[in-house]
Amino acid sequence: MAHPSQLGFQDAASPVMEELIHFHDHTLMIVFLISALVLYVITAMVSTKLTNKYILDSQEIEIVWTILPAIILIMIALPSLRILYLMDEINDPHLTIKAMGHQWYWSYEYTDYEDLGFDSYMIQTQDLTPGQFRLLETDHRMVVPMESPVRVLVSAEDVLHSWAVPALGVKMDAVPGRLNQTAFIISRPGVYYGQCSEICGANHSFMPIVVEAVPLEHFEAWSSSMLEEA
């Protein structure tokens, strides 16, 4: 989850998010190097004691500062396209879950076998127990088997919403009348938080998402108990 004074991404909980973090680090390193170079050049130009500063042209440096940026751009573009296509690969999900956005809560439907559906409301600040996270916890979590390809179909029942879980590298708009597909594999067990990411009215900030990844047997036990409850 996010923590105070955080500078970077949350730890990755899916292979796709790991790749996104690596790409980001690679690109940011290039950005830092270029910025450092430019800063150096600026300070050098401003503090020089040389008097002949107004040379008008030079073929060699023009070639260098054309070719080098082109190479740098290619070094950014190739990993970028690689991850773009990687994220678009055809997957073979083991499980389909529907995440429906409402004003102002999410509801989850697991209908591959039985009709399991439940609402997921934010736990109000005054009802939190010690150790729980303000504005992030929900009464029911979207429980998912770990290391299994999961398909999530995101839609909305009223206005636009967006289903996002940063640790998984997932964000998908919830559009009424449309079924948007996203997929992920959660690499490790844990609890992953997200928040609604499309303005949807007064309580847009108070309809979080909680995904809980557990071993398959735990998931089966959980879904049986949820069906019994209902």
Binding site: P93, E109, T111, G117, L153, E157, M172, L179
Partner: protein, 87 residues
């Protein structure tokens, strides 16, 4: 031969598999098409007096993909005779 195939497919059903007709992000039509196909299949097979087991596949797929509220709405529309699709 066909009947055993469909039984095997239904028994091993986990969730709606990848459908090459709907390869992209927008799966709305995938859900709707399977709903239509189930009802069309049922209508045709019951008219012939045949076993409707093959239609089960479409039912499993649309149940996996379609939001419950959409299914309920369409079922109500079918009952009322206001369903917009051609069955």
């Amino acid at each position: 031969m066909m009947a055993e195939d469909i039984q095997a497919k239904l028994k091993n059903y986990k969730t709606a598999p990848f459908d090459a007709r709907f390869p992209n992000q927008n799966q709305t039509r995938n859900c709707f098409q399977n709903y239509l196909d189930f009802h069309r299949c049922t209508k045709v097979l019951t008219a012939k007096g045949a076993d409707t087991t093959p239609c089960e596949w479409f039912r499993r797929v649309y149940k996996s993909l379609c939001p419950i509220s959409w299914i309920n709405k369409w079922n109500d529309q079918l009952e009322e005779g206001t369903f917009p699709g051609k069955i």
